[in-house]
Symmetry: C2
Subunit: 296 residues, 2 copies
């Protein structure tokens, strides 16, 4: 008989074993906090890669995973989480906790209310604020969430044990766990994540469509590189994020557009002082953020 203590999550099921789900699995495994890890996904070659990389112990069907798992992590693109919740609802056992890693939360909470019925208390909506341009299991790493923020948006119905399990699991990954309501999450993320992605993609698109785009791109430097890095992200993932957070993104974009008009007017007027003031405020704010952030 083994003397080892029971791990935090005896059986973990990860639906979607890419960067986000694979890193969650790898972090829990590295910490000894997951007993057995089952991987679920559409693409068998991705599952096989995740297994050979040691992210999961075995591939499983969704049904088999739901029969065994203590914790189910839904790490699929936001647009497919609603239908996943619908699929798992009738098969969800009473002691299984479900969480997700979707980048928008109001839509998912709405879908959960529609699908889960009396099992709603077993679901803990979540969003790890971490990522990279790379995707897929090969990009997964156990330290992806170290010192990163994870936002949980529990409902009034969410059970305390469920919330506690998911909180502890993320803490084991090295993350800082915050809770807030889904609308606040979506408004804030529209501002600091979705709008930058939108602007970066619009700009990259505009440069690429220019008649002299080859010349332009040949003279692009490190500022261009940093500013456009996020535009390389998965169009499928980001389409879903924009579509599920449309209202908040459009509201923020309208506000950014007003700020842009203001700054453009200063430039049009040749008002060097107004221009410098605005640039200086932006520079000071960015430097202050960098000095406080663990990211730079």
């Amino acid at each position: 008989m083994s003397n080892q203590p029971t791990p935090l999550v005896p059986v973990l099921a990860v639906v979607g074993v890419g960067l986000i789900g694979g890193s969650f699995a790898a972090a829990l495994k590295a910490a000894g906090a997951a007993g057995r890890i089952l991987g679920v996904g559409r693409d068998t070659s991705t599952l096989e890669r995740a297994r050979s990389l040691g992210l999961i112990d075995e591939a499983a069907t969704l049904d088999a995973a739901l029969e065994q798992a203590d914790l189910v992590m839904l790490a699929a693109p936001v647009g497919t989480i609603a239908s996943l919740l619908d699929t798992i609802a009738p098969r969800l056992r009473a002691n299984t906790v479900v969480t997700d890693a979707g980048s928008t939360k109001s839509d998912i909470v709405h879908a959960a209310r529609q699908s889960l019925g009396s099992k709603l208390g077993q679901f803990v909506p979540g969003h790890p604020i971490a990522g990279a341009e790379q995707t897929g299991p090969k990009a997964a790493r156990p330290d992806l969430y170290m010192n990163r923020n994870v936002v949980l948006t529990p409902l009034a119905e969410t059970g305390r044990p469920a919330l506690s399990l998911v909180t502890r699991a993320w803490q084991v990954c090295g993350a800082r766990v915050l809770t807030m309501d889904p609308d606040t999450h979506d408004t804030v993320l529209a501002s600091v994540s979705h709008v930058p992605h939108f602007l970066s993609s619009v700009f990259m698109w505009q440069v690429a469509m220019a008649q002299d785009s080859d010349l332009r791109l040949s003279l692009a430097g490190s500022g261009f590189r940093d500013f456009t890095r996020i535009a390389a992200g998965s169009s499928e993932v980001w389409r879903d994020i924009f579509m599920t957070n449309r209202k908040a993104v459009l509201t923020e974009l309208a506000d950014v557009r007003r700020a842009l008009e203001h700054a453009e007017q200063a430039l049009r007027d040749g008002d060097a002082q107004a221009l410098e003031d605005f640039l200086e405020r932006a520079a000071l704010a960015r430097r202050l953020w960098a000095s406080r952030s663990r990211l730079t």
Copy 2:
């Protein structure tokens, strides 16, 4: 008597010994291509720091530097280069070559025509496309220009020996030297350098001005970090860049705004396919650029 060959630049004078000028000096010195290096600047403590870091051999007045230098590099903010050209014009000796590192070129070429008169052929306008958020002599390093592009915008009047000297000096720094006309340079740089800086600063300003900016900034992740990195740059330097390249920047901004309206309309319409198409084109263009660029 020494057997050492004469260096490419027996006496180099650098006006402005910050990141750009200091790195030029350091690269030429590291390659043995500069004999003696004189530093010129407004701030004696900056000059002293540059000397103690070994970027320059000694501090000098502009007059003393002009008497001795074979090559004068003007590495001051764009807005002060015109007045520097005006100051040096009457004291410029016949065999001295002058170049600059200003980020915009049409304005500087115009100023050179006004100031230099019969000495116009000694001036080689230039722009090294390299930089960093850091400024000052401490940030200078001999490899800053390694594999980077340097654009020269020679005039019809520019002397061949002057153009050849400046070209060789940059090549010694490890840079790839391109030549083009000043208007093309300014149009292209408006697109891939000035507009990203403008958008990044506007966005950073808008987030910082929001009532809940603390909450927003606490949830900002690595995408935000990359997208706003350039906004931390010197407001003085960038004010000058925008002011001296107003027309091209405003033209590009208008085009970006049209692209933004197009993408926003797709989102407003809930047109997931149009949204994904635009995101996918941007992502493919960015990935193609990264695969070709030496910067990523």
